[in-house]
Symmetry: C2
Subunit: 255 residues, 2 copies
DNA sequence: CAATGAATTAATGTATACACTTTGATGATT
DNA sequence: AATCATCAAAGTGTATACATTAATTCATTG
């Protein structure tokens, strides 16, 4: 009964915004694995109609972030431990290929600067004397910027999408560094520097090799962390994120 | 008008069937690269309403088989030569990982039989004295069965999806063997046998290595074929498919 | 005549009504 | 009491109308 043109439209469509928003929530683990997404409920919660919501869900299902069963709707897929390991293995190969291509194709001035900035940001995050949480956040950002610049340099939409697919297992995502202690981070940072060198010196094989080892090292950290966590805390609850209980609005400020 | 329940429904939904059908058409190259898909037209052609059609298109866009721009609809992405090469590189790594996991995790009796059957089918296709087209078709089937069995043995949904993503470049698809001559096929078949041996003997590294080389060899064949084709036949027309030629002309001014 | 811009047309995005399927509950029958 | 049939409730799938955005046409003007 509201007027048909209720919300002020931006340049993008509701579907796109919804997809983006939900993707982020899913990667943040806001929805419990295995849980079912109720369309009417979610639509009401987000103040949209079912049509754009469904469009977004279809997209995310295509990306593998959701599972769809014909007359039973969309569910959040549950990831086994082996699935997480596989995701790291795959990501190591894809990131390696990405680094190799970056070394082969060279980096633009702009990208090179971004890469160096990311390295410096990593250094700074490690040397600064803030509290642990803050350090993690800042290192995670630097880490993501570093890898992102390389992905861009590779100039391959396919690899970008493959990497995105690897991150559909949130634990294998590039911005997940929860498993790191400070020593880990230092080692990762050193590895970044070696990768950077290899790319700048245009040594494809070296870049690929270094990058693979780098990602596999992350895998080991993650596996170790998981093992500990499993022992001390038998019920691995999904990340209780801000206001993201699946019956509360995803983001109060989101319009 | 007709009653609402016009078509006899199967166990699946229209959206799913449409997605499947369109995916096949896209992989077969039935739609010209760069062409725009008109929803109303396509819906009429396929005798469905726009809603399930759009659902299918959303899914395919999520898979990367289509491109979507907000108020301009769905288009078939154009693949550059480098994109094709990248797809092979990525596929080589993913298939390699797949083979490695198959070797690590072992094959069930059923899968082993299927693998052997695929090998025999390959042998037979090569030794039989049918015409060339028939031989290709049969070899392509054997090839797909061989790789499919390995993918299944790897038991990794992620890798399966990554491989599917690699095949969104139709030229890099496992069932595309148009570039092969008989000598090529024999070499491929021999490689299959080596891969089989490695997997059965539970030698993960060997399996991975052999598989990578195998796929990269296919890449070389394909590249050679493409080069020839480009010289002799500058206008590579897309495969004219059944009743799906509704194409809206590509804007000639679009560069 | 070229260029610009309003009006027309077509195509996509969204809302909503309705049909179909699933699921859970209720009650009858054994 | 247990089992199964039937039905009600809720949820998903589809059709269609309408809104909005892009593309085209055509007239006006410099």
């Amino acid at each position: 009964m509201t007027t048909k043109v209720s919300a002020p439209r931006g340049i993008s469509t509701q579907s796109r915004l919804l997809a983006e928003q939900l993707r982020q929530s899913l990667l943040d683990g806001a929805f419990a694995a295995g849980s079912r997404l109720n369309e009417v409920h979610l639509a009401r919660t987000l103040s949209v109609s079912r049509t754009p919501l469904r469009a977004a869900l279809q997209t995310l299902a295509g990306e593998g972030l959701l599972h769809h069963v014909p007359n039973r709707g969309f569910t959040v897929p549950e990831q086994s431990l082996s699935a997480i390991i596989d995701a790291f293995e795959m990501r190591a190969l894809a990131e390696g290929l990405s680094a190799r291509l970056a070394a082969e194709r060279g980096m633009s001035e702009d990208l090179r600067r971004r890469l160096e900035a990311a390295l410096l940001a990593g250094d700074e995050a490690l040397s600064s004397e803030t509290d642990d949480g803050e350090r993690r956040t800042r290192y995670a950002e630097a880490n993501e910027a570093f890898h992102g610049a390389i992905h861009e340099a590779a100039q391959s939409p396919l690899i970008r999408d493959v990497l995105r697919m690897c991150q559909r297992v949130p634990q294998a995502s590039a911005h997940n560094i929860v498993a790191f202690d400070i020593a880990d981070m230092r080692q990762r940072n050193a590895a970044h520097r070696r990768i950077y060198e290899a790319i700048i010196c245009r040594e494809p094989r070296e870049a690929e090799q270094q990058m693979r080892q780098h990602v596999l090292a992350v895998k080991v950290s993650m596996a170790r962390w998981y093992a500990q966590r499993m022992n001390s805390q038998p019920a691995p609850e999904p990340n209780p994120h801000p206001a993201l209980d699946h019956r509360t609005p995803v983001d109060p400020a989101a319009t």
